[in-house]
Symmetry: C2
Subunit: 534 residues, 2 copies
Amino acid sequence: MQSSPLMISGILHHAEVAHPDREIVSCVTDGSMWRYDYSAFAERVRRCANMLRDIGVRPGDRVTSLAWNTYHHMELFFAVPGIGAVLHTANPRLSDDQIAYTIVHAGSRALFYDPNLAEIVDRLRPKLVDVQSFVCLESNKTRNDPCYEPMLAAASSQLEWPRFDENEAAFLCYTSGTTGDPKGVLYSHRSVVLHAITAGLNSALGFSAFDCIMPCQSLYHATAWGLPFVAAINGCKVVLPADRFDGASLQQLIQEEEVTFSGGVPTIWTMYLNHLERTAETTGSLRQIVIGGSAVPRAMAETFQNRFGVQVRQIWGMTEMSPLGVLSTPTPKLAEAGQDVLDDTIWTRQGRRQFGVELKIVDEKGQELPSDGESAGSVLVRGPWVIERYYLSDASALDADGWFDTGDIATIDEYGFMRITDRKKDVIKSGGEWVSSIDIENAAVACPGVKFAAVVGVFHPKWEERPILIVEPHEDSTVTAEAMLAHLAPHMPRWWLPDVIIFETVPLTATGKIDKKVLRERHARRLVQDGAAA
Amino acid sequence: MQSSPLMISGILHHAEVAHPDREIVSCVTDGSMWRYDYSAFAERVRRCANMLRDIGVRPGDRVTSLAWNTYHHMELFFAVPGIGAVLHTANPRLSDDQIAYTIVHAGSRALFYDPNLAEIVDRLRPKLVDVQSFVCLESNKTRNDPCYEPMLAAASSQLEWPRFDENEAAFLCYTSGTTGDPKGVLYSHRSVVLHAITAGLNSALGFSAFDCIMPCQSLYHATAWGLPFVAAINGCKVVLPADRFDGASLQQLIQEEEVTFSGGVPTIWTMYLNHLERTAETTGSLRQIVIGGSAVPRAMAETFQNRFGVQVRQIWGMTEMSPLGVLSTPTPKLAEAGQDVLDDTIWTRQGRRQFGVELKIVDEKGQELPSDGESAGSVLVRGPWVIERYYLSDASALDADGWFDTGDIATIDEYGFMRITDRKKDVIKSGGEWVSSIDIENAAVACPGVKFAAVVGVFHPKWEERPILIVEPHEDSTVTAEAMLAHLAPHMPRWWLPDVIIFETVPLTATGKIDKKVLRERHARRLVQDGAAA
């Protein structure tokens, strides 16, 4: 057989010739809209590639993007790897220090940024000594830096995409770094293409040429599940909301562009449902929402499915996995068990095994655990889009048999569905027994009036550690600690019930997850101070 | 990223852990039925692999199967490549000489055969000097050769599948050899796995875990579109009809096993529809039929879709392409053009581009032709599951840019759908102008009473070549040459109308296609003999 390498430029070529007239529609940070098709997109990506070469970007060079979900960003997704360079997608929601750390660590020689992120760039500029080109992703010059659109217009649209080893790097994505410095993960052309083909299967996202997808997870997070590539392979229309993820903006795009699929963290869909509640509008063409990053509140899934006929699926993965691990799509065995079991599994489990990612749960001695829905162990993964080592690290991130320890604790049930019970670093051990912080949080967030719920373990003189619960209620909520406890009691062993319930604003990380590190520090001595020890 | 090779054993492992209880149901040539699940299947494949090692099969060795669509054959599909050996799937419908040629050319050291093909084996045995082990795929010993089931029972079920270079060979498939000796095509683990993942996408077969597939194309033909692998990746139930492709047998399997998908040549579906006609039965759970090998008669497609609600799709490919090239699945642009255009395109075009196979049509100078539905040119393909060179050949099968010339002539329309207008070797050139034999055949086969229709070009003293039409009518048909001509006239230019129409039995090749080589030889001097020259 031919030794054709798997190339990201091959995905672009396919989109251009196989579905040239499917559209890409993008909000722009200046409030305008942009609309073109894959044919015009491919031409602009070629211009962008030539422009990159014109400013001196060479194969292997790192190029940083600091940008939202826009067509500019999507052009960089194909142009930078297309010429053999590496796109580092910086996260604008990190602290200045962390953003600077990743750009310096990446050794980027060019930085492309959205105009409304210019202030960050100006603050960081003195630290970014390796960056030789700063380019603002705008149409009309407002700043001293060169401006993307005129540069593109000046570049040639003629280009023969180079072929090279499919194991060459294409993307450099950093973990969110809630524990220590962010760590870089290099994605190769091979890993991106294999991941994108597989993600299109019906066990995963199941896109067809009739889908219109709107990524509401950020392009700078692990390539937004590779959605730009999955869409281009399957001929999906793409709708990019820039940085506007509020309910009204999303609803406008869904209605006007006939979006069928979207995905993102639960917070966004809470805002979206609130918007529908206020306006009495419906979900229109929306067919499916895939939710990752945090557990899906059951009420949300029920509302989407039962009131609006929108399927809700869970997804689990991580930057180290490109990022897709498991997805909660139905199986015949689940369907035979009845609608209640099916709904419950789909909504409360992170999902089932996908082709390409080997996955097992093991005990502390490394012995594989049974799929009985009870035995909880470390989740290990292996496969062609799983990390081998962190960027610039000498040490392998794998064990002797090539498995990567995800740091998550999970069970796998008789249907093959994995349920994350904890992050290893969030594990609470009380009197020598594990308490599942995630189980308590899931129960707590299902209590009426609760917006966010976080459980952390804090020092306890007798039990070593005990769970405490931090709750951020909705604005109009009158929920009390007594009501919370009454709500929680039926759902867990008595000794899991949190010793203290604190009502306060829950801190979020740059990736929109609850920042347990902050909570743990803030409340470290809570049970000692309160004299709650007994 | 990890350097995990793409292995066929990885597909087996996935099926075993991700959908252990999905079933494989198989007819057996002795008339019995076999039923197990992927978990039991994987265990038997491990036994089979150990048995292969026990009889001395080593990595790189070729092993021949001479077998129908049975579970035994499917076990060999995974076990032989699993240990690094190469499965040569011999075609029992070839002539003795051709079968022997392929086995000798492959240099096979073991031959596994179905009991009802034993006579062929006994005739060939003296010629098969390299074959050291003859194994009969049966349960109870009826012959002198060793017997598969006791050998499996004696082998260990413990095996760690070896990992090796994904570019190692896995299958050796021979072309049907209608022009000269059959030629071998080596499939690698990489090409088989990539082909199988991509074939599951919704642009192609679009399988889900809820599908039950029944391959009615033979496993020995280019791995039956890779269906055993596509099924195992997607968790489909598999139903194997052995060698019984008559309408009644297929209908029984479809009804009892709730088959949702099947595929094969049109002849099989003609027999199936005839059975439904006779019995007034319906298609039950059947959702989709994919037809390849020959053009789909429109009446067949209409009957399936309009009377039974079964979607009919076309497929085009060849042994040199693993074999999938294009499939006729709908697109939004087609849907917008209305149901008539959509049906017409899906049923009369071979299909649209699929991710992974680059495809273009070129003129005689190699210049790419436009997608205007008019310009016909040679179909060239390129990609990771396209042949590089034939087995044991020193010469590349590709042009300087890595393209493989398929030998087909086609147009591509504005919707991106390819229509084969001729095989290069079947091209008829009359007075310097091309006549499309396929267009005339399609029109002829749509005439009531016609079972098969074949057009070949024969020598003509004035026009160099002229088309003649050979028709095999249905048993009860009274169709005449005059009626045929009247039927054809509105569908083509006057000078395309065949000079002679001959009613006779149409010869078929070992792969069920019309054997034009025979017809061309048989009727070579027809227009001279008849004095039809003017």
